[in-house]
């Protein structure tokens, strides 16, 4: 635990150091990576450690985003408090959903959360407090003055999101090693056996879903911070799909790969843009290529590294050992 804490602090320093030496675009992408890291982490917590899958984490992010924006815009609460509220309220919302979800498995939860992802963002258009299609502006405020004149807004976002991501990952890696983590893994392995061992499977599933939702809410709030507005269009169905892809590519039950998934999610639109620009910025290509890449990646990952790159590497290493030995 001590060692891991030091590791995370060291990682934080390295990231800050890098953040100081690259251009604004990269800094901004760094912030996005941090946001996706949290979001993917929340799916890994849910799927990899309790065997449930959610296709609606984009909608939970939207929930958190709206909570944060409402806190700041309507109640003028400080930013950090808005984030805490986002995580808390989304967690509670997820807990309620999870209460229905706990009674079911695989396809039921998948379908229900898919319904959430398709429907929740469009709800925003129907309640005036949510600002319709334009959404709500979230004033991120200026970076504290003592960080210096030329400390940019993006760098400020980068700091906040990275700090949040580090704390989240540290917390996640601890909880997954704790008694809870072991219980969830047992659940995933064999629900009936876990039940026989006296695990209250329903309660554990609700807990896992609520915690996962809370993290998704936090990620949503951070995402809104980096784009300064929350609107339905920021949380399309494709976001939920992308998160699942990120989690599968990372290795759905291994927290170590989580940054890889996040980096890929940030790179994909960039690849799509550069391809599209070669084809004369055709609207068709710009609007469909990211989806195609994400989906193709998802399918390839399921087919070729179904249990994550970690397992694949492990196998390769074993093979090599077998050959040389």
């Amino acid at each position: 635990m001590r060692k891991r804490l030091l590791l995370f602090i060291a990682l934080g320093w390295v990231l800050l150091f890098i953040g100081d030496r690259v251009d604004e675009l990269r800094v901004y992408q760094g912030a996005s990576i941090a946001v996706y890291t949290i979001a993917i982490g929340s799916i890994i917590l849910l799927t990899g450690y309790s065997g449930q899958i959610s296709l609606g984490h984009g909608a939970l992010m939207a929930f958190g985003g709206y909570v944060a924006a409402l806190c700041v815009a309507n109640a003028s609460l400080p930013l950090w408090f808005a984030f805490v509220m986002a995580a808390l309220l989304t967690g509670i919302f997820g807990g309620v959903l999870g209460f229905a979800a706990a009674r079911l498995s695989g396809p039921y939860l998948a379908g229900t959360t898919l319904a959430l992802a398709v429907g929740l963002p469009s709800l925003a258009n129907q309640f005036s407090i949510l600002g319709g299609e334009q959404g709500i502006y979230l004033d991120p405020g200026l970076p504290p003055a003592r960080l210096g004149e030329d400390f940019s807004q993006y760098k400020w976002f980068f700091w906040i999101t990275t700090l949040a991501a580090l704390i989240t990952m540290f917390w996640l890696s601890n909880i997954l090693r704790s008694k809870y983590g072991r219980t969830w893994r047992a659940l995933r392995g064999n629900e009936v056996a876990a039940q026989l061992c006296g695990v209250h499977t329903g309660r554990q599933k609700v807990l896992a879903f609520a915690l996962s939702s809370g993290l998704a809410g936090l990620a949503g709030a951070l995402l809104v911070l980096t784009i300064s507005t929350v609107s339905p269009s920021a949380f399309p169905l494709s976001l939920s799909f992308a998160l699942v892809t990120g989690a599968v590519v990372s290795g759905i039950y291994d927290l170590k790969g989580v940054m890889l998934g996040a980096v890929i999610l940030v790179i994909i639109p960039e690849i799509a843009d550069s391809v599209a620009s070669r084809f004369g910025d055709s609207l068709k290509i710009i609007s469909t290529l990211p989806g195609l890449l994400v989906s193709a990646l998802l399918i390839l990952a399921v087919l070729f590294t179904p249990n994550g790159p970690g397992e694949k590497l492990h196998h390769l290493r074993h093979k090599r050992k077998a050959h040389s030995g």
Binding site: I53, L114, V118, P306
Partner: protein, 298 residues
């Protein structure tokens, strides 16, 4: 009174479309234990093909037939060349439980992207074969239009054909036997793999009909059928996910519920209504309103 009758009829025609989508999900679920989220993608492909046929020939009915065939073919291809290799490859590790969901999701994304590439992302209309203007009774114009009546008629015919197929023919018996117990079906000489692919084809055809029937009253875009998928899924869950009768009942209940809420309460509540329906059913009657025997923890 007019409002009531008209809500009833509109609800039926909406519910009829949900029923078809729901049937296609149930058929695949029963035979393969997969909720085929790609069904919306398959239906969008067949509906775009129908759009192309309408554009070139002007015939809705030709397009309708072509869409059914395309939907069936696509369903068969997805099972034979996508699901089967997937099940062969992915056999170990924690991913097994979620691989089918994840794979059909990926396929949905790919199919949407493909139609986006070919036809663009702008909204496209398909003209209805009969009028979309409501019937008038005296001075009153009902929202219920000839097209809604046509939808009810077509779905009724499809349902009759399907129930005859499933209840009265050897093929139907093979389909049911393979779904309920592949091993006993196989020992009885049923070519289970082929039958399963055929089941996917029938499901694809049902989804294709739902897609083309849903489009004239709205428009076509690469994700215009996502909502239909969600409603079809909700209907299937209401019906218990195992039973085709349940799927139809679930579709109609949902269609009527949604229409009455939107006519009597608020149009903005369509989606929340469906979602609440889904959650309530899951909480109070997890095996659906048409009681199924199997547990849903399977």
């Amino acid at each position: 009174m007019y409002k009531f009758i008209s809500s009833l009829l509109i609800g039926l025609s909406l519910g009829a479309i949900y029923s078809l989508m729901s049937i296609s999900l149930v058929l695949v679920w029963r035979s393969t234990r997969v909720v085929n989220f790609a069904q919306a993608g398959q239906a969008i492909v067949s509906t775009y093909i129908a759009y192309e046929v309408v554009n070139r020939t002007g015939s809705f009915w030709l397009a309708f037939i072509v869409a059914i065939l395309a939907g069936a073919l696509l369903g068969a291809i997805v099972d034979r060349y996508f699901m089967r290799p997937l099940f062969k490859r992915v056999t170990t590790g924690p991913i097994v439980a979620i691989a089918p969901v994840v794979a059909t999701l990926g396929l949905l994304g790919i199919l949407r992207a493909i139609v986006g590439f070919i036809w663009g992302v702008e909204l496209k209309p398909i003209a209805a074969p009969v009028s979309l203007d409501g019937y008038s009774l005296g001075s009153e114009v009902l929202p219920f239009a000839p097209y809604n009546a046509l939808v009810i008629l077509i779905v009724a015919i499809v349902l009759i054909v399907l129930s005859l197929l499933f209840q009265k023919t050897n093929l139907g018996l093979s389909l049911r036997a393979s779904a309920f117990s592949p091993e006993i079906a196989r020992l009885s000489g049923v070519r289970v793999n082929e039958i399963r692919t055929l089941g996917w084809a029938i499901a694809g055809a049902a989804g294709a009909i739902a897609g083309i029937l849903a489009t004239p009253t709205s428009y076509l875009s690469p994700n215009s059928l996502d909502i239909l998928l969600v409603f079809g899924f909700a209907a299937a869950v209401i019906g218990g996910l195992e039973s085709m009768v349940g799927a139809v009942v679930g579709g109609l209940v949902l269609g009527l519920g949604v229409t009455f809420v939107s006519n009597y309460v608020s149009t903005s509540l369509i989606f929340p209504t469906a979602f609440v329906f889904l959650i309530v059913i899951l909480l109070v009657r997890p095996s659906g309103i048409v009681a199924g025997k199997r547990s849903r923890r399977a």
